[in-house]
């Protein structure tokens, strides 16, 4: 030895050092091989951020190709959080941006913090007006992580037009999201159809969202676009609705006495719904506006109730159509048979009034129907019998869903929430055991003029008059003409569907038609007469113990010498007399539909119109 030292200590030291190095090597293997995939994902999450771009939803057309629902490009402000940003950065950003976004500093800061904590991008504002966008574009250069993206936003060009039918979009609720998130098409901030067509055809209308995969640095600054995932628009839907009629109906209802009511216009030859209006209605565009207090308040009192299918009312005198059909078809009575109307009718101790207290004197069926003489029909009903009347109620599918379907896949083609109404008659009463289950003569008297327990919806009445108009075919009302996939295929094409037939003797139909036309020519609906157009109809005034009466009018119309092309029902809630409140509305609609001269020249394309609807130029 050159120096009197053993190397024990050095050996121990170096052994310790080598051991530690071995441990380090194992740790590297652990990180880089065993747990590599975990860290690789973490690194990928760090450097990429995805901005989802909402795909355009399928468009909705009316029967002439007018766009009822479409999409518009809109700019959204997104914030890409990054780990290096601190509280001061966030609060400065919030303070600078808040004035442009109509939010308070605190609100904005809270949103920024959520994004910061969860590490996922957040939309700070949607649908920015151009001026705001310009201002924000400047801010964007000062604050890395703030960016503008373009998206497709739902837009309803005609606002509230057919809003009850089209429905609206809303933010997905947490329950629905939990159910749908596995399909991978929805995000927590997705919008989803909440009502009407938007809800029924959510699956078809919804496109596949696209997105941009961005590379960002540690400060959230955009480095480049890694991948652009194109969106796929949803399927288009063509409706049977004619927006001209729809608009005429809505405007007329809005101008009515009570500004509340419903109109249903059917094609009596196919069951296509040409218009379905319910007022009050709403503007579905409201749901696409970032919610401020004013908008939220308006949404809360949203008139979502679709009177046309969900409102049930006593039919009043329009029920006399059914009573007359029963009495004549079963030959319980002859049209020339006369009754005397002194203005009231005495049944035992009870007195039933005619609507006209002066009385109609002695009259047979045609004037009795045209002037809607109640006393005539009291006696007509008693002679026909309540059992028969009830039988005819069922024949005409009252008390049934007009759009009901047995097949599950067809459910989407019917309106949700449609009401059945109520049948009235001895059989029904016995079944329900109402009023002890007994039926009295007085009940028959009431039933004869459509009062009592009977309840119907406007769409049922439209279906009724349509059945009368075409001579017995109960077509199922339909509102979807076509579903067109993005590559142009028709996924669905409407086929008229017969839900039942009313078999009456031809004489009975003739008599009914004669009577209905008489109503418009010199009866209660005289004011609804349009020269050059054959119109048959019946007014009704449903007595309402809680307020003003409901005004009814049902009618069919067509060009002379041609089968009727229009069947409609008008209801004005609390409108008073059918003749004064409901008839003018129907007249306007009929004029728009069948008087080409009165219509403003329009460039709308005549498209997919069934030939029987021969009102086109």
């Amino acid at each position: 030895m050159r120096h009197e030292l053993s190397f024990d200590r050095l050996n121990q030291l170096s052994a310790g050092v080598y051991l530690m190095m071995g441990l380090l090597a194992l740790r590297f293997v652990d990180l880089q091989v065993i747990r590599h995939s975990y860290y690789a994902k973490a690194a990928e999450r760090n450097r990429t951020q995805t901005i989802i771009q909402t795909a355009p939803r399928g468009r909705v057309f009316d029967r002439t190709g007018n766009l009822l629902a479409t999409n518009r490009p809109a700019f959204s402000l997104v914030f890409l959080p990054s780990l290096t940003k601190n509280q001061t950065y966030l609060s400065r950003l919030a303070k600078d941006m808040a004035p442009y976004l109509k939010k308070t500093d605190e609100e904005l800061l809270r949103e920024l913090q959520v994004a910061f904590e969860t590490g996922s991008p957040v939309r700070l504002a949607e649908n920015l007006p151009p001026k705001t966008m310009f201002n924000l574009a400047e801010l964007r250069t000062l604050y890395p992580g703030v960016d503008l993206v373009v998206e497709a936003r739902r837009y309803y060009p005609y606002g509230s037009l057919a809003s009850h039918l089209i429905g609206y979009l809303g933010s997905i609720d947490s329950k629905t999201w939990l159910r749908l998130r596995d399909r991978g098409e929805y995000r927590k901030d997705s919008r989803i159809g909440k009502a009407g067509l938007e809800k029924l055809f959510e699956r078809e209308l919804r496109g596949r969202d696209g997105g941009i995969l961005l590379e960002v640095d540690a400060h959230g600054k955009l480095q480049g676009i890694l991948q652009q995932m194109d969106w796929k628009p949803g399927m288009d839907i063509a409706l049977t609705i004619d927006s001209k009629l729809q608009r005429a109906a809505e405007e007329a209802l809005r101008a009515s006495h009570s500004r509340t009511g419903a109109v249903v216009v059917l094609d009596p030859q196919t069951g296509a719904i040409l218009a379905m209006a319910s007022v009050p209605d709403f503007d579905p565009n409201l749901f696409m506006i970032p919610q401020d207090e004013e908008v939220s308040a308006r949404l809360k009192s949203l008139p979502e109730f679709n009177l046309a299918a969900q409102g049930t009312f006593p039919p009043g005198s329009i029920f006399k159509i059914v009573v007359a059909a029963a009495g004549f078809n079963e030959q319980k009575i002859f049209s020339a048979e006369k009754f005397f109307c002194p203005g009231y009718f005495q049944l035992g101790p009870r007195t039933f009034l005619c609507w006209d207290k002066k009385g109609h004197k002695l009259l047979d069926f045609l004037p009795g129907f045209a002037h809607s003489c109640d006393v005539y029909f009291y006696q007509f009903g008693l002679k026909t019998g309540a059992d028969l009347i009830e039988q005819y109620e069922r024949k005409f599918h009252l008390g049934m869903l007009t759009m009901g379907s047995n097949r599950k896949e067809d459910e989407r083609f019917s309106l949700p929430g449609e009401k059945k109404g109520l049948i009235s008659g001895p059989g029904e009463r016995a079944r329900r055991k109402a009023h002890g289950g007994d039926w009295y003569q007085g009940d028959t008297v009431n039933l004869s003029i459509g009062q009592g327990e009977l309840l119907v919806t406007p769409i049922q009445m439209a279906s009724l008059i349509s059945t009368v108009a075409n001579g017995g075919s109960i077509w199922k009302p339909q509102f979807v003409e076509k579903v067109i996939s993005q590559d142009g295929h028709d996924i669905y094409q409407r086929k008229p569907e017969l839900s039942g037939t009313v078999n009456l003797k031809p004489e009975t139909w003739d008599l009914l038609h004669q009577a209905l036309i008489q109503v418009v020519q010199d009866g209660t609906a005289r004011s609804g007469h349009v020269s050059g157009i054959k119109i048959g109809g019946k007014t009704g005034t449903a007595q309402n113990p809680h307020g003003e009466d409901h005004a009814w009018f049902v009618a069919y119309a067509g060009l002379p010498g041609k089968p009727p092309s229009l069947a409609l029902s008008v209801l004005v809630e609390h409108g008073g007399h059918g003749a004064t409140a409901a008839v003018p509305i129907a007249k306007k609609i009929i004029e728009v539909a069948l008087k080409p001269n009165d219509r403003p020249p329009e460039g709308s394309l005549p498209k997919e119109v069934p030939p029987k609807n021969g009102e086109q130029e």
Binding site: V17, M21, R27, Q32, A43
Partner: protein, 451 residues
Amino acid sequence: MIFGYGGLGRAEQRRRHIDWFLIGAVAGLLVLGTLAIFSAAVPLPYHAQIIHRHFLGIGLGVIVFLIGMWLPYQIYDEQWKILYAISVALLIGVLISGEMLRGTRGWFKLPFFSFQPSEVARVCMILCLSAFLNRRAHKIKTLGAIVYAIGLVLPVLFLILKEPDLSSTLVLFPAITAVLFCAGAHGLYLGFLLGCGLLSFLLTVAWTFFSIRTDWLESSALIRFFMELSHLNVTLVITCVGIVVFFFVAWWVCARLGIPIPAVYFVALATIILVGLMAGNIMESQIKGYQRSRLVTFLDPAVDPRGAGYNLLQARIAIGSGGVTGKGIFSGTQSQLGFVPERHTDFILAVVGEEMGLLGTLAVLGLYLLLLGRIFNAARVAQDRFGYLVACGIGAMFACYLFINAGMSVGIVPVAGVPLPFVSYGGSNLVMSLWSVGIVESIHSRRYTIA
């Protein structure tokens, strides 16, 4: 003594005895490090300056290395007092007129580069301590040797801590202990020394740990008392007196009962606790904010996952995401997009790990294995005790750098701020590390010659 290669001149002999493996290991690390620094510097705004200075550092380092290799190492043994004086003077000088950088007054600003005296001091301290112990080889087993050795190093350690440069202390303290260990110091005294060091470190950790557990602080009087000890106050003084009294009484009782425990154990234990408390106090007061927060997140990562723990986590993500073959130089997303902080200095291994993968990290470990192996080999073949001690100390120092730096990068060591010699960017560290290797070469090449 043996004379090899009889016919050759001395210079020729030495050249033949140069340890090319050692040089190869250093060169390999420098190549890897330069690549990593290049890559890490690309996105930085001042990358040209970094690369420029890195090559300046290599150039200077090579010169210093050659000087270290050429100079007979025994010269440090002879002139150790001058080395010591230079170290202390530099450290005092930097405290007076040094540049403030990242909270540390540890830099002299020179025309071309900044220069860190604590880097010079750490090499000098190993040389001085080796020279000192070389002279007291016969008394090495005594307590005196240790006490004097500590007395020698303590002022320098104190000056370095004063800057404050905790990381240099962290490397120097184990290296000094290693020199004493290899010198053959008594195990008990070494245990004493390590005990003091460990205790002061553990106390700092414990104080930090309890300070984030405020609920415990409120519920336990014992913990409140413990926290009181973390800074100089009456409680601390009373406790110190109490400890002395306790051990004295314990010794007295033992002696009375006839239990044969030498008094030295009581004295040692008491001193360990006292010195540990004092040193812990100094550490506690000198620890920097970022070091404290790293300590906190290491103890409890849930405290602030986005704050201080971020650095450690991002470095680990970078390394782990590299996989076996890495993402390719200049293509590491973690490093290039700025997720790894201090990536060209303290976290250079994260860049290596991400861009060169397991192959890169194992290459660094392998080259270090070669480096340390050759240094320890130089210690074995050194012709004298001084050379042996110096090589041991330098080897231990490099090992400490590796463990602390790599351990921090992979998340098994809490404290940071320690570079990885030859791989990290940093001129002073590079030059002084190359000097140390030059000294080892000098020891190696002169293994057969008599000074």
